[in-house]
Symmetry: D3
């Protein structure tokens, strides 16, 4: 029995609340159980130096954790004067994942920055962030289309397909979906999976925390992830339909 009473293949309660704050072009509060991440999408009419004059856009992400999002207070990265390795690793992952569903030519010379700030952490903050940031990104791009700033080519818009993420792991010998903090801090393997709505893998990052994992465990975990991500993509659609 999982600490939360969930079945091995069961997600936590997922909520996707659009328009959580007013200023951002997309603003989503995503919850995977007690993990709550505020994802905003900001549109700016400029691109980084390496893209200037090429007619392409850019999508990037920044990730942060409020100091007391966690059980014990962590240092504020701004006060320490640098972002830690974990933070940089996560925001690079979020950026790569979201760029995988964006047609940067259609976006034009614009940057969309996805700020993912964890208000409360209970495991899986990076997968919740990716899942929520996708919705904020769609809202921002739809705003650009609605305002006429971007003209879709036929049915193609700058965002193609959908992207979501979930963690899977081996907990007490059993493959489980969407680990919460209690499981995450006590599991043998922890894997973050990012997939698109076509069932393709975008990112796969597995780490053996205890013993090394075997090929059949890898298969069981990816199978769980596929099902979980299908559910998450349905939740994204539902939220976007409202």
């Amino acid at each position: 029995m999982r600490p939360s009473g969930r079945a091995p293949g069961q997600l936590r309660e997922v909520r996707i609340e659009r328009g959580f704050t007013r200023h951002a072009e997309g603003s989503v509060l995503v919850s995977f159980g007690d993990t709550r991440v505020l994802c905003t999408a900001s549109v700016e009419n400029r691109v980084p130096a390496f893209l200037r004059g090429k007619g392409e856009g850019w999508v990037t992400a920044e990730y942060g954790m409020l100091p007391r999002a966690t059980h014990t207070r962590g240092d504020r990265e701004a006060a320490r004067g640098k972002q830690g390795g974990r933070t940089l690793e996560i925001q690079r992952l979020i950026g790569r994942s979201l760029r995988a569903c964006v047609d940067r030519d259609l976006l034009g010379e614009r940057t969309i920055t996805l700020d993912c700030d964890v208000l409360q952490a209970d495991g899986g903050t990076r997968t919740a962030a990716i899942t929520g940031a996708y919705v904020a990104l769609v809202d921002a791009v739809n705003g650009l289309i609605k305002s006429g700033a971007i003209k879709p080519k036929g049915r193609r818009t700058p965002v193609f397909g959908a992207v979501a993420a979930v963690s899977v792991g081996i907990w007490k010998g059993v493959p489980v979906l969407d680990l919460d903090y209690a499981e995450d801090s006590d599991c043998d393997t922890d894997m973050n999976v990012v997939m698109n709505d076509g069932g393709g893998f975008i990112e796969l990052q597995g780490t053996a925390e205890g013993h090394a994992f075997r090929r059949e465990e890898l298969e069981a975990m990816t199978a769980l992830a596929e099902r979980g991500i299908a559910e998450l993509i349905a939740k994204q659609r539902e939220a976007l339909a409202q």
Copy 2:
């Protein structure tokens, strides 16, 4: 007529929501209209080096603004590698203000850190932060008392009285209470006032943005502030009573 339609001496709608997140010993989402600040109080059983072994506690504050809390996205301070002057100034103000209502001997060798993170900004973030942080501080201290970690001396607890803050200003020649962003960016004078429930001033920071202000304007502004702060302290009490 103020942009928001408010009367000169009228506060914005103030909401104080306790228990907004789970892990912190005190966690308050405070709203002054569209300004929303998450204030958490974290208790740690250690004090800064300059207080070690003296039997006294410490109360300090950190302030941050999510990059897209504002109309246009601002740099993330953690990414830039340092906190700006404005941030440092505000967090020093919050810390001083809250220490003004704390008996640090009764607190014992503990640090309470008040993290004030602006989720959405519409003017007056520092005054909202002080007003909300007070409630988070009381929750944290009450928790320490309830758990037996701190024993009040008779009726004295580590928090005495109440502290709240509000901005006042001269907007189009008229003294007004609790400036929102539209007023703040277009006023002649902007003053932040921190007071206690005994009507005493704890901090007063006035800046002439346009023309220098006169003694009678100072008096009109402080009178408005007194009334506003009395209302805010009533709101704090109400929230704490729930």
Copy 3:
């Protein structure tokens, strides 16, 4: 009786020595008793990015304290790798205060930087800095006029009026003017006041160190400040007339 033997409304001996160093367009050594601050004004023919092409000038300030300006040696900020919160707060205050007497359109696309470096500290370094920096600023602007770089419009030059600053406080229950270090470290309230020669307030920053201060104390302090600033402005005029 004040530690220095001064009457409550008495300034320390104030000296304003122009031309203290040779290279700067304005260079003033200002002393408020044992507090000595070297204020230089440097003119550069460029403005910060946010002002480029607007035809306006900029006035800004930087503040520093030599490591052994104080009773015990403090860290050198350059060696620590960042300016502290107190430093940033003070230099922002100096900059705002001086901009309040500058017509930035008349100044043209130039930056005047006021470097205020404390050679010896005995309380009131920021108020001495503002008072001295004003004189350095006038010298620099007069140099620009004399060289023909700036042409005044009729009688209007880029500096209008005068700006000076002084601290006031409640020390052992008595409102006193121009606190020295002995008073500053032992007072109930400490307030820095910046005013112009028209008697208007430019900045007012009061902090209750011990008990909260009351409206009548605020009035007594601002009254003392008004008188003190009138004296300081007379000293500035005298220095500029030499």
Copy 4:
């Protein structure tokens, strides 16, 4: 045909040169074709603060790239004043991978730091680094055993098993082993795999650069990786036997 003329499942020429420098307790120059990484293992008789007094050791890694290890010169991270996200990500990966084969209780309160510095880069620097660092680690631990500082428990020494790493990818639609720079910059999927000598996965990090990859591609890639890592572990043994 791969740019290098290799077969899809063929490694580059792998060389592992022990004792490349004199001072380090382990010093290995590892080459995967033109990728050359100097891996040193340094033993220190202290552990990070979070482990003090627990009787356990620590293994950690740092990664660097000489500025002109690459086709065009990159900034020196020491001069820029911070390590980039890629660097931090890689050194975290190396550290986790090596800790997976270390019994930290047997190691005792010691830290072994694996410095992996890329002298020449041609793709796969992180996998070469892990493969070489393992050999340097074994040399350092054997030195500790030989000097009597560590006493093995029966046949157990602080290093159990072996760890090696290789990259795999989908290049022009074909799964290939050990990508060089030409392939790496032009592939659809890039995956770094760390495994032990028991055939278990320690780390798996796959990224879709072009199109998302499918379950059967994942399987083909992990199968290639398994074979490649078996060869690498044989090379490590051979080097250690000399």
Copy 5:
């Protein structure tokens, strides 16, 4: 003819003013012509970590240049967030030079920090700093002796002999002593020489700015330096005798 009208072997006017500021244990304003450096010596009863418990003292130096000490304003190092290479190089030189005349065992576990801050620069700031810092150091050590904190052993005190410094160079083909800015920016060779009162060399740093210098030029320059330093040491004695 030198720009200043001086003879090739003539120093600028040298002034050494003790007690320039009040708080430091030694405080000297040294002038070599228009170069003015404030040198303070601060005594602290602790030593750096690498000396703790060894019974020895430490002497170190820090160097800074006020932003407008020079013809055009330079960045403030504290604001830029780091000390430049030139600053570090100079402060290392000052520290080494002064340690050459200190008996660190007799000093006991104390640190004396020599802060050398350039108020006005006209060439030769590092040599003026060394020459002035020596006097500040002697004042600080004499204070320790007078207060009984240090007991001299017979006639030996923690400072033995004297140390002074001067620059020499080849200017328009002629060896000259004590270069000012006009010469320094237009010379073929620039050499800083630190010597003691016994005529021994402590530091010698020569740089060919234009053409490489020859052995006989080196000899001519060191001969000039010897004479100049003898004069400077006489000035130090004179100042210390007052």
Copy 6:
């Protein structure tokens, strides 16, 4: 007898290996005995801001030490977030030394960066670096000439003459050439000398570690240096001739 058994005027075995890595325009592994430094020369078609549009080129150097190049592991400067004073001092010295043999007009608007990274340290890393960097510089410039990017004027190319460096010192009272670590950490005087092939001095940096050194010791040391540098320049020629 020197620890290494060398005669006082004997260099360590010097090896200069060109083409050590592939990507750089010049790449030299230089060894002075056990001191091994990798020197690469990188050509970029841009110059620093202060030279833009002047038609001149720039030559600069960066220096680094791998963390375990030394007997005990040193901090990685990139991880500490800044280059130390020693590093900055050395890289400034290397840059100045190499610029002394470069005709920057003939070089054109290009920057050549000499990266000198110490793989193994045994004293004299900076002198080895200068000696090796010269060869890398020549290789890079010859490449530019061969490709037609630079056209020599008659027989003049951007590099004129040769530059090499060696250390000399007073060890146990005897002047010795090319100190290794054992001598360097136990000598009375340590001097680094940079000379050109015409026998002129480019840099001379002598430091008395123990007692101050005398004029005749200076002469003995520079005489040794002259001879050593002549040998080094012969080695450079030999290497370039291959």
